[in-house]
Symmetry: C2
Subunit: 204 residues, 2 copies
């Protein structure tokens, strides 16, 4: 049984398997992942250093699934930036159960550099100053990550107590969808606002 002639595991399989487990169970455990991959838990440690690295592999797998060509940087910068943000959040939306694992420690990983490079070029070409680029990217990314977490947030409940103590909140909630369009609407609103605000930050 030990040492199969063709390896049962590789990092790619581990990342993809972990993503499936998190998707299905909303959490990740090493025994569950090992079971999914048909292997003993200890086998994993021949390929990764530990749990943290597995989560990093999940992010990498997500990036590979999404692909770098989900958005087109040759369009006007506002459209391209919007497409980037939507594709970024869309990748999370495909794996809601994994979001808390993935969004918590963002994306300093090397395989993200290619993506950042394209966005940085986009913004520099658009006329933003070099010192503006990372703050803009970080700000948009913070919004995307927060919005990804919002996808799995518990709904705000309007009890009768709330209605009396919080009339304005209740009025607002009455005009807010309670299904998954709520998070969509919030994302659309914030994204539009950010892009408008970015435009106003463009020099001259």
């Amino acid at each position: 049984m030990a040492r199969p002639r063709t390896p049962l595991l590789d990092r790619r399989r581990i990342g993809a398997g972990a993503l499936r487990i998190a998707d299905e169970q909303g959490a990740l455990s090493i025994p569950a992942l090992a079971r999914e991959l048909g292997v003993a838990p200890s086998a994993l440690y021949h390929h990764v250093s530990g749990r943290e690295e597995i989560i990093s592999l999940m992010r990498e797998e997500l990036a590979l699934e999404t692909g770098p060509d989900d958005w087109d940087p040759s369009r006007p910068w506002e459209q391209a930036l919007e497409a980037w943000a939507r594709s970024y959040r869309g990748a999370f939306a495909t794996h809601p159960g994994a979001v808390p694992l993935l969004a918590t420690a963002p994306l300093a990983e090397p395989f993200m550099h290619a993506m950042y490079e394209r966005v940085a070029e986009l913004l520099l070409t658009a006329g933003f100053g070099a010192g503006q680029v990372m703050p803009l990217i970080n700000a948009l990314e913070n919004f995307v990550l927060g919005s990804a977490l919002d996808l799995v947030a518990p709904p705000v409940m309007v009890s009768d107590v709330t209605r009396e103590a919080a009339p304005h909140l209740s009025a607002a909630l009455d005009d807010t969808p309670t299904d998954n369009r709520r998070a969509e609407l919030a994302f659309d609103t914030g994204l539009r606002a950010l892009l408008t605000g970015f435009r106003a930050l463009l020099p001259r």
Copy 2:
């Protein structure tokens, strides 16, 4: 030893203790919390239903520490909204080690309703439509939560590899602070942009 005449524990003490543990250790375990409170782990279960509820108590404690009067809704709506966002994020910044625990499942909890009510009133008075209020609040909140996580994000490293493969990114990183001002700058930039964009969404 059992059944002291005056209780050793209450929910307030548990929330505050959990916040201290998470601050110090960057994580929360029940044994560590029990030790901090001078009590056996099982004692906690007489006051809370489990780990999840302890984390909820941490959020409540954070809200109590911050206080509802950190911002003044009587000012112009843009200033008041900015102050709210800053005070909200500031509360997280005071407990960086606890941020991943606190920011992951936001704030549907009842003790947050009072805060939402004030922001909702603010926006309605400013002239936003009832249907706009929650999307605006959610969008700003998503940005605040993402920015809170950004406080504890690992820094982006510029290796020599990166420099050759990603010239635009490197140029941008050269003009970006590497210390804690990086996250500040991103937050300021995004917040300013959001407020500008919100203004543009105001009817008529």
